[in-house]
């Protein structure tokens, strides 16, 4: 071999290498510069994907951390029947294909059993079918006949995770799924009106679900990345990522046990009196925290769609009733606070008329005949005429001012919203009789919650508080990020007046209208209320709203409790649904249970029974 030939060969090789590089370079220029936009569009379409990660909705807890509402994942199971066809077509050996087919048929039967469906129905679902599409979309299978393979046939919705795990183990060809989160309420109907629910579209409709949605819903995240041919994410090609932020947990002030106690009592009321509605509210007087709030009728949160609209109303804040004699705390409290009377000051409650500002005014009727009554007797026996005279002593403007201060005619600012204000007309709109009728709770209406909070003001030293239903917010890691404390709205009466009024209210159960409903040693203070219902503009004799609103122990109140029964049906006696008949027994029964549950200690040494006297054995 000559040197010239070798030299030429090397030159040729070098030129070849350079030519190859140039070829690659030219191709790169085409790919990266000339056809760049076209290719990028194609790649983007084929490989790029944006995956949205849905935030998990926060849970709703009671004051002790018990779950009231949570989210549970559920699966919608579907089938791609053509996948099984493709799977079997891959196997060329006839015998092995038959064996695989048999295996799949056995698994399909197990699949049907797990889902609780008839095998025949599942077999029909697995039958490959075509579905019609518009001609411009029919480009998938190469035959433009307006039909494409139906690759998604729904089998069942709402399949739980354990069942799905067993389905996955079957390794059945063609099974696909879609995971969704569904709201579940472990306690079914407990505190239904407080918790509220999410509808089928996942939109919060009522209650805490609706009002605290901002805290609960969280923020969806998303990932921009690429996918492979099997549509699996190629995690290494993630280009942008916005992390998902799960919703916060909302802790309510509701105590599940107290809520259960009052709901149980509501069932008893419903069975005995078949009322139009009934409401029971329990709260902590010192903080305004609602410990339990329940209405009859109610509904099951997990089956809200079957509940009538009436059952979904939170009557405690959406319905107005005349407070009746429970409103007398305004007249008595105001007169005591203004120093116009003492508990011993007497009034003539026997006379049917009275001179007021130069006019003779007809006083309201009494349920019993009274003569001279002291202020403490007026409270205990719920004298309408006595309350009217106390209001007259103050005058319209002062009385109206106190009624406002007790929270009537104003929103309580309850955090669940949608509350109605109630009606408290200003003195300029009163007629000549209003000053004698309003003190007994007529010519005014209020929500059960307004009445409850007014009594709560007496229990906590005269301060009107905002009713609290939310205790705190916790992030998804369980850290407390916001605490809701008591909010004082107004100082209605002086603490000393409130304490005095509380003692007067104990007379109601000792010697007054609810005599016999006292709990020895626990100083139950309360006020009965019975009001005729106003139907078609007239007070009727056969429809009443009975209530008992009170607290205990009077000298150091720990629980405020309201029982309101609207249009209860009483079959015995005078057939009137007096507060002492329809509400006071329930108040008494609930109070007995709350004393045990909340470990409330008696304030004095009450006479004890035999067993208690043997307590020394402990």
């Amino acid at each position: 071999m000559s040197k010239g030939f070798a030299s030429n060969r090397l030159t040729l090789l070098a030129l070849g290498v350079v030519a190859c590089f140039m070829g690659v370079g030219v191709r790169l220029v085409f790919l990266q510069v000339v056809d760049r936009d076209l290719l990028l569009k194609f790649v983007d379409k084929a490989r790029r994907q944006i995956v949205v990660e849905h935030a998990r909705r926060g849970t709703i807890l009671d004051t002790h951390g018990n779950l009231l509402a949570t989210s549970r994942s559920e699966l919608t199971i579907a089938v791609d029947p053509w996948m099984l066809v493709d799977y079997l077509a891959e196997e060329k050996n006839e015998q092995r294909r038959a064996r695989k087919r048999n295996e799949q048929e056995v698994r399909r039967a197990q699949f049907a059993a797990l889902l609780g469906l008839p095998s025949a129905e599942v077999d029909a679902i697995f039958e490959p079918k075509m579905r019609p599409v518009s001609m411009d979309k029919d480009k998938r299978d190469g035959t433009p006949d307006g039909l494409v393979k139906d690759r998604w046939v729904k089998v069942k919705e709402g399949v739980d995770e354990p069942t799905f795990a067993r389905i996955e183990q079957l390794n059945l060809q063609g099974v696909t799924f879609e995971r969704v989160y569904r709201r579940v309420y472990p306690s079914d109907g407990l505190a239904a009106h407080v918790i509220g629910y999410l509808n089928k579209e996942g939109k919060p409709v009522t209650g805490a679900e609706h009002n605290f949605d901002l805290y609960l819903k969280g923020q969806d995240g998303w990932i921009e990345s690429e996918k492979d041919g099997a549509r699996r994410e190629l995690a290494q090609f993630r280009s942008r990522e916005v992390p998902v932020q799960d919703g916060n947990d909302v802790v309510l002030t509701i105590d599940s046990v107290i809520q259960h106690i009052i709901e149980d009592e509501l069932k008893t009321i419903a069975a005995k009196f078949s009322p139009r509605f009934a409401t029971i509210i329990a709260s902590d007087p010192q903080t305004g925290a609602i410990l339990g709030l329940a209405n009859y009728p109610s509904f099951d949160l997990n089956n809200y769609s079957k509940a009538p609209v009436e059952a979904q109303r939170n009557y405690a804040i959406t319905d107005r009733i005349e407070p009746g004699s429970t409103f007398k705390i305004v007249a008595v409290g105001a007169a005591l606070n203004e120093g116009l009377v003492t508990p011993q000051t007497s009034f003539d409650c026997g006379s049917p008329t009275i001179e007021y500002k130069g006019r003779t005014i007809k006083l309201p009727k009494e349920d019993e005949v009274y003569g001279m009554l002291s202020v403490s007797d007026i409270v205990a026996h719920s004298s309408n005429r006595g309350a009217a005279q106390l209001a007259m002593l103050m005058g319209e403007d002062k009385f109206y001012e106190y009624a406002r201060r007790f929270g009537f005619g104003q929103a309580t600012k309850f955090q669940l919203g949608r509350e109605v204000l109630g009606t408290l007309a200003p003195p300029s709109e009163w007629d000549g009789l209003t000053i004698s009728r309003m003190p007994m709770g007529h010519s005014v209406d209020a929500t059960p919650l307004q009445i409850h909070m007014a009594m709560s003001a007496v229990a906590n030293g005269g301060a009107l508080l905002r009713p609290q239903i939310i205790k705190e917010i916790r992030d998804s890691q369980g850290r407390v990020i916001r605490v809701f404390g008591p909010e004082k709205r107004e100082q209605v009466i002086r603490p000393s007046t409130a304490a005095l009024l509380a003692q007067l209210l104990t007379g109601v159960v000792r010697v007054g209208t609810a005599k016999g409903f006292d709990i020895p040693g626990f100083e139950v203070a309360g006020k009965t209320g019975t009001t005729q219902k106003l139907i078609d503009g007239k007070y009727v004799n056969n429809h009443h709203t009975g209530s008992f609103v009170g607290f205990f122990p009077a000298s150091r109140p720990q629980v405020v409790l309201s029982v309101i029964v609207d249009d209860g049906h009483v079959t015995d006696g005078d057939r009137i649904a007096w507060g002492r008949k329809v509400a006071a027994p329930s108040f008494h029964h609930i109070a007995e249970q709350l004393i045990q549950y909340l470990e409330i200690k008696p304030v004095d040494s009450a006479p004890r029974g035999l067993l208690a006297m043997q307590g020394g054995v402990l």
Partner: protein, 141 residues
Amino acid sequence: MRPPPARAFVSQLIALTLLLLVFSGSLGLGAVWVRQEISGTANRSHALENRIADVERRLDEVNAEVAAALNPHSLLKQNLAMQLGLSSPNEIQVMRVDGSPELRLASKRNREVFNPVGSRAGAEGVNGAPYTFRIITASLR
């Protein structure tokens, strides 16, 4: 010094080109290896994320079931079904004591065990008085 002949230059050029190819090839292979590692790690991390999400889903499921089993209504139903007869005490059945009930119970038990009046009749001390002990468990103080 004489300049190198042309073919020596070509040889050097080829050698350098080959060297460059080997070097860039190594770089390329290194880059591929790194990409592969990144890909593997990303996929493992992705799998772990999925696993965590799966565990969290199962936890939610279990929590919901526990909450359903522990709500007062379910517990009362269990009480009835299992005929346990559990109920809240009535006020009349409650004896409230001042101080620690544990100390009180310990004291009572000690009296039963060591006071010979009832349980060990006949045992007497030096002066004929019954033995008495007052032992309160220190840990209960």
